[in-house]
């Protein structure tokens, strides 16, 4: 399951009336939105949205009923168990040869403020400006120690740039910490603190 689907499930399950609606779905063979609404004293739109969302996720199937009055849907439960199974490794940024060989250095006039640790040679946080115009605000990003050491050894603006792997080696950052370094590189590039140069 991906994060977005899991978020939809979580959002539905967190509603105060979720358990009551599932109780109806489990105990009734099929049920309409108006029946749910009257039974639980909910607004019809609330019940309908909830059931529709479950149907979109495949938890329910809906059946169109054509009677004398205008057509409506009845909802039938497809499964009696919901399992949220998220593979967290799907968001892990596996370092590739390509990402580690990016050639980078600090961007000139980046406007970032670096706070250096008192006792060690690493940077503890970076303050950057985020947003546009009057909405511009200073945002402080705390760094992990390996990230701080990496940033400490980042080449200066106008200095000869270095590869990510090269800076990691110079800073004494171990290879298995590459994902958090690459995350920092991405973030710093997004805020214009570093520049990636052509190889």
């Amino acid at each position: 399951m991906d994060f977005q689907t899991a978020a939809k499930y979580a959002s539905l399950l967190s509603r105060v009336y979720a358990e009551d609606i599932f109780a109806l779905l489990v105990n009734y063979q099929a049920i309409s939105a108006s029946e749910v609404a009257t039974r639980l004293d909910l607004h019809i739109k609330t019940a309908q949205d909830f059931l529709e969302s479950l149907a979109q996720l495949g938890v329910l199937t809906k059946e169109e009923i054509l009677e004398k009055k205008r057509p409506y849907f009845r909802y039938i439960l497809n499964q009696t168990r919901i399992t949220l199974d998220i593979d967290l490794m799907q968001v892990k940024q596996e370092p590739t040869h390509n990402s580690l060989s990016l050639i980078i250095r600090e961007r000139e006039n980046a406007g970032a403020r670096f706070v250096v640790a008192r006792s060690e040679d690493y940077i503890t946080s970076v303050a950057i400006w985020a947003g546009e115009g009057r909405e511009r605000q200073e945002r402080k990003i705390k760094l992990t120690t390996p990230q701080g050491r990496f940033l400490y050894h980042l080449p200066f603006p106008k200095a000869p740039p270095m590869s990510v792997a090269g800076i990691m080696q110079k800073a004494g950052v171990e290879e298995h910490l590459a994902p958090e370094i690459l995350d920092l590189v991405q973030l710093m590039e997004k805020y214009g603190v570093i520049e990636i140069l052509p190889k």
Partner: protein, 270 residues
Amino acid sequence: MSLIRKLKPDRNLTALLVYLSIFPIFGIASLVFGIHTGLTVLAVFLFGFALLYLYAFIRTGNPAQLAVCADGLFFSFMLLILDPDTGWNTREYGMAYFFGILFFGILLVALVITRKFKWRGREVFELAAEAIEEIGDGYTSRPRPVGKVEYSQQEMREYTKFLSRHLIALPFLTSKNTTLVIVKMGEEFGRLLGLSGDYRDATWVNFDADGNVSVHIAQKDYLDYREPLAFDQLCTSLGNLFIDFFELYKKGEGIRAIDRMDNLKLPVLS
């Protein structure tokens, strides 16, 4: 040696204003409270200066600071015992005052001319920029690691004593780091008394316990150069300058470092 300066001329009037402020304070105090009080205020002022220089001596070990302290104490005492109605005309007082001025005057002029009283910040910045011809800006507030040096704790302690005694840098020591802050003439009391903010924001060269050397140049000091010198090279050069001084000091040739600075022939009060 090239006499083309990389730094802008020194136009910092802060120190001068502090010293000159004695006169209006004395004048106003005399006008409002009478000459007795004016002289007392002046004496207290000089005593305050004497204490400042005593603190500077304790902090740096520079003997010239002690001479200025003694000067302040002497004239402070002379003003306190002065009876303005008769005191100026008594022979003993006049002689003591005259010889005091003669002694301290000659001493202070000698100390200034021989640069024993000079904070060497400007010389350090000039030497660091000496070999840099490339213009390129690239300023960043990040420190730059510039190399590694082998030294024992005792060697580093002795070296920092040497630097502070000759007013080349003001050391700040922690258990892991020896941070040498570069101080220009006129900025010394702000830095000594902690009025200039955190020393980590100033220009410094840091030697850590593992021998790593890193450099930070404050933007204010960088803007003091006439041209936007290649910042990367400037940091490296400043770090290497202190490594060179260290090597000279280890060989017992620390005086050569002083000679290099004297050879720049910068104005004695800048």
